[in-house]
């Protein structure tokens, strides 16, 4: 890494931060309870649109893990998400009608909120359909993990996105509000992930899983990225570059060991593929607000019409984090 490219990245980081600063005006505070945030609180940041049906379980799940405060951007929901969130005692809510796409899929908004409220806190950035699983999450709260990370001088923690899907057609089993989505979408691909290193940002680029297998068998380079670094001890100088796939400064992306060992890592269980998906895909197609000209959603729509079943006979049924550890999708590292 030469001085020039290092400096280039520094400029890029500043540019993202300035962009986030400028985009702050798009956010209108609706309910602010940020005064309740105590030093050392663990914060969750999310941006969403029309996810009312998912929210009760989402909040319940993360409260149980030990999230102290939720900072959420509502991008023009009209299904009652906003009203529901506004009532929650541990949620601060911003609303915006601005373009999701032009806010770089919400990254600018959340970068700004993190800059403003996340400094010095452990921050978890997830979508409402992403559920964080880490080693020992069934017996140790999130605070145990962050305490251990601090003691080990680790500032960022990776959790690869693991697409979960039901057996049979996606829309066969209706999802009830408040239900654990993994009662329905309880299957995943255990070992078909392609990994390369991104030399510019130093992160790993992971693609694969059922989406690559079913929707992109002929265009693998278009398959969505699954590498994520959602948990970071935030500093106001940091910035997410593209979704939570990578950050700057690039040292935060070095969440993998290069000398043969394993660092600790988790998984984000992705509950995208339940019966709400078809409607969502249709809506996103018409809005055209998603990544790469909604190419992904177009592929989904075509794929969904042709073969709506992501399940195959090698699919693995989810049991717990230990199973993911044994399969090599995540690692305890030296946490015991």
């Amino acid at each position: 890494m030469g001085i020039l490219s290092t400096y280039g990245l520094r400029l890029a980081r500043k540019r993202w931060r300035i962009r986030a600063f400028r985009k702050r005006r798009e956010l209108a505070p609706m309910v602010s309870r940020v005064g309740d945030i105590r030093p050392g609180a663990i914060l969750l940041f999310s941006t969403l649109r029309n996810e009312k049906i998912r929210l009760p379980y989402f909040l319940q799940y993360y409260r149980a893990l030990g999230i102290n405060h939720f900072l959420i951007v509502d991008n023009g929901s009209d299904d009652g998400s906003r009203e529901y969130l506004a009532e929650q005692p541990d949620v601060s809510l911003w609303t915006t009608g601005a373009s999701y796409k032009r806010a770089r899929f919400g990254v600018d908004w959340l970068n700004w909120l993190q800059m403003r409220h996340g400094h010095g806190h452990w921050t978890l950035v997830v979508d409402p359909d992403e559920f964080f699983v880490y080693p020992f999450c069934d017996t140790r709260p999130l605070r145990a993990l962050t305490d251990w990370l601090v003691a080990s001088s680790i500032k960022s923690f990776p959790a690869m996105l693991l697409d979960m899907y039901p057996r049979g057609p996606i829309s066969a089993q209706p999802y009830r509000e408040g239900q654990d989505p993994f009662e329905i979408a309880s299957w995943f691909d255990s070992g078909n992930y392609a990994i390369t290193r991104n030399s510019r940002y130093g992160n790993l680029w992971i693609q694969g899983g059922p989406r690559a297998r079913v929707f992109f068998p002929d265009l693998p380079e278009r398959a969505p990225a699954l590498n994520k670094i959602p948990l970071v001890k935030w500093h106001r100088d940091y910035a997410y570059v593209s979704s939570t796939h990578m950050l700057l400064p690039r040292g935060l992306n070095l969440v993998y060991d290069e000398w043969g060992g394993e660092k600790a890592s988790g998984v984000l269980l992705h509950a995208k593929f339940i019966d709400t998906f078809a409607a969502k895909a249709e809506e996103e197609m018409t809005r055209g607000q998603h990544y790469a000209a909604s190419h992904e959603y177009r592929a989904y729509r075509d794929g969904l019409q042709a073969s709506p079943d992501l399940w195959c006979k090698w699919s693995e049924k989810y049991i717990n984090w230990r199973q993911l550890e044994i399969l090599g999708l995540m690692s305890k590292g030296n946490w015991a």
Binding site: F136, T139, R140, P141, R143, A144, D147, W148, A151, S152, P158, A159, M160, D189, S190, G191, N192, Y193, A194, I195, T196, R197, L204, I206, Q207, G208, P210, A212, R213, F216, P217, D218, L219, P220, E221, N227, V255, Y256, D257, E258, W259, G260, G261, E262, K263, S265, C312, K313, W314, S315, E316, G328, L329, M330, S331, K332, G333, N334, W335, A336
Partner: protein, 565 residues
């Protein structure tokens, strides 16, 4: 007689207070030292919390930065207070605020009483320690360390290097043999008094003030001067990880800790409610005279360190992506690659599966699709048979396959018609067993009913690719176990090489081959090659085939085929 505890606290005061109270209510005096860097308000609240307890004292405070003299000074002051105020104390244990007693104090007292006059302190000469981080053993005692290792690592390292280069050495006080060991000891009143009232104490203190991490060497060294009987081990269960920081105990370690029969454990996560509840309840502990037996916990933590430093062989994932040559095995298990065999033998795949008891795939890197065993469209781990997905990252494809099927040997066919991007990986991988019959690709062409110009074109293409392959495989960088025969060599005596290959796959089977795979009928093959030559192409990789009818010799055997390693 009783046991006294000296507690060094700097954080999690609720838990420290809980433990201190637990000890003092069981008749053990406790002297607490609180780091001077702790805020006054926090300290006041802590002392108020413990105000009612008769047998708890607070020692004069020192600033305790990690690895500095302050920790020793604090221990000395607290120990002196203990010896002065509690004459009934016969042993003093050093503990921290994040220690948790696992067994009742009565059992500890009985254990100590059964071993009178014994000091339990880990004390190892500097030559024999293996755990020190940063490679500083004896140099802890002979160099100077004015810079903080935590805050000024760069300066610290540079200064150490400078002193080494200049050859600087501090003089160790006469009569002292440097020893290192765990900070957490349990000393008899006699030994501790002798250390604290040693006639040369001022000299020793002056010396140790400039030693690096004196809390792991001061008492450990001096006890050798005064003690009559040393058990060089700590009664406190504590484990360090590879960075030299202590492993932490959580609620889910409860059963392990119970079964360890250790007296005190360090370090416990302050919010491990279940542990504190279980071990601080009045009727905790049911063991009798059990010896501490931390074996299981040792293994647990040793495994964790190994996972962090070595990882699982052949695994590539989000938090393990080794640089080339650092993989600790490039793939998860040994596997075999066969080039030309399924061209030469009609039923090679089924034969091999039966003869060796392994999984035999077709051409995994075939251009049209992945030919998994049994013609499956997907495979273990939900690998897809899409050629595009595979060719997008062939290396991930192969390492995934081998990781997903660990425990079952994988074999697959390969050839010049296949995607060639994986070859550099195969040749570098010591787990790969590659067997090549060069020129065997000509056999299917020979038997195909295509136009001869097309055959000629295809033959030229495949020969060009295979020639490049063979050049690659002869490079010195090749780590795979490699065998190459020309087609002519191989058909002369196929059984010996086949036996060798099977023996390598199944070294312990020791079976002689009874059934050979069915070889394609090569009558007229020599003429076919001659026809290629006549059309202006030069087939060279097959070796020498006479233009006659049957290439197989009927009379002579020339012994073992040529082995290329």
């Amino acid at each position: 007689m009783s046991v006294g505890f000296v507690m060094l606290c700097h954080t999690a005061f609720d838990r420290a207070a809980q433990v201190a109270r637990h000890w003092s209510r069981q008749g053990c005096p406790v002297v607490i030292h609180v780091d001077r860097r702790v805020k006054a308000a926090t300290y006041r609240k802590f002392t108020r919390d413990l105000a009612g307890e008769a047998d708890i004292r607070f020692a004069p405070r020192f600033a305790c930065e990690w690895g500095t003299w302050g920790l020793v000074a604090a221990t000395q002051a607290a120990a002196e207070l203990m010896l002065r105020d509690f004459p009934q104390v016969s042993h003093v244990c050093l503990a921290s605020g994040s220690c948790l007693p696992l067994r009742p104090v009565s059992e500890l007292a009985a254990y100590l009483a059964a071993r009178p006059g014994t000091d339990f302190i880990e004390s190892v000469t500097t030559e024999d320690v293996g755990w020190t981080v940063g490679g500083l053993n004896i140099e802890r005692f002979t160099l100077r360390f004015p810079f903080s290792w935590r805050k000024n690592r760069r300066l610290f390292d540079d200064y150490v290097r400078l002193q080494r280069r200049v050859g600087f050495r501090r003089r160790i006080p006469a009569g002292l043999a440097p020893h290192l060991g765990s900070q957490w000891w349990c000393l008899t009143r006699e030994s501790l008094t002798a250390i604290l009232q040693h006639p040369r104490r001022a000299e020793f203190d002056r010396y140790f003030q400039r030693v690096w991490i004196p809390d792991e060497s001061y008492f450990q060294t001096l006890v050798r001067l005064v003690s009559t009987r040393i058990e060089s081990r700590s009664l406190t269960l504590h484990k360090f990880d590879f960075q030299g920081k202590p492993h932490i105990f959580y609620d889910d370690h409860l059963q392990l800790l119970r079964k360890s029969d250790c007296f005190v454990a360090r370090k416990v996560w302050p919010q491990a409610d279940r542990l504190y509840r279980a071990f601080l309840s009045p009727h905790a502990g049911a063991q009798q005279a059990a010896e501490p037996n931390p074996g299981k916990i040792d293994r647990l933590f040793a495994r964790a360190v190994e996972r962090r430093t070595k990882g699982r062989a052949g695994l590539y994932m989000q938090s393990r992506f080794p640089n080339p040559a650092w993989e600790n095995a490039m793939s998860a298990a040994p596997y075999s690659v066969f080039q030309g065999f399924s061209d030469l033998f009609e039923n090679f795949e089924t034969w091999l599966g039966k003869a060796a008891g392994v999984r035999v795939h077709g051409h995994l890197f075939a251009p049209a699709r992945v030919e998994f065993a049994g013609g499956d469209t997907s495979y273990n781990g939900a690998l897809s048979d899409s050629a595009a997905l595979r060719d997008y990252n062939p290396r991930s494809f192969l390492t995934n396959l081998l990781w997903n099927t660990r425990g079952e040997r994988q074999c697959f066919q390969y050839g010049p018609a296949d995607s060639q991007k994986i070859l550099p990986f195969l040749m570098r991988d010591p787990q790969a067993q590659i067997s090549v019959i060069t020129g065997a690709w000509a056999v299917p062409l020979f038997r195909a009913s295509l136009d001869f110009p097309e055959i000629r074109k295809e033959a030229a293409r495949l020969q060009k690719i295979e020639a490049a392959q063979v050049d690659l495989l002869r490079l010195p960088a090749v780590k795979a176990r490699l065998r190459i025969w020309s087609l002519a060599e191989f058909v002369e005596d196929p059984m010996t090489p086949l036996q060798d290959i099977l023996d390598e796959i199944n070294p312990r089977a020791g079976r002689r081959l009874t059934e050979a795979p069915r070889m394609a009928d090569l009558a007229g093959f020599g003429q076919f090659l001659q026809n290629l030559r006549n059309q202006g192409m030069q087939p060279v990789l097959m070796g020498d085939f006479p233009a006659g009818d049957d290439p197989r010799p009927t009379t002579t055997r020339r012994g073992r085929p040529y082995l290329v390693k």
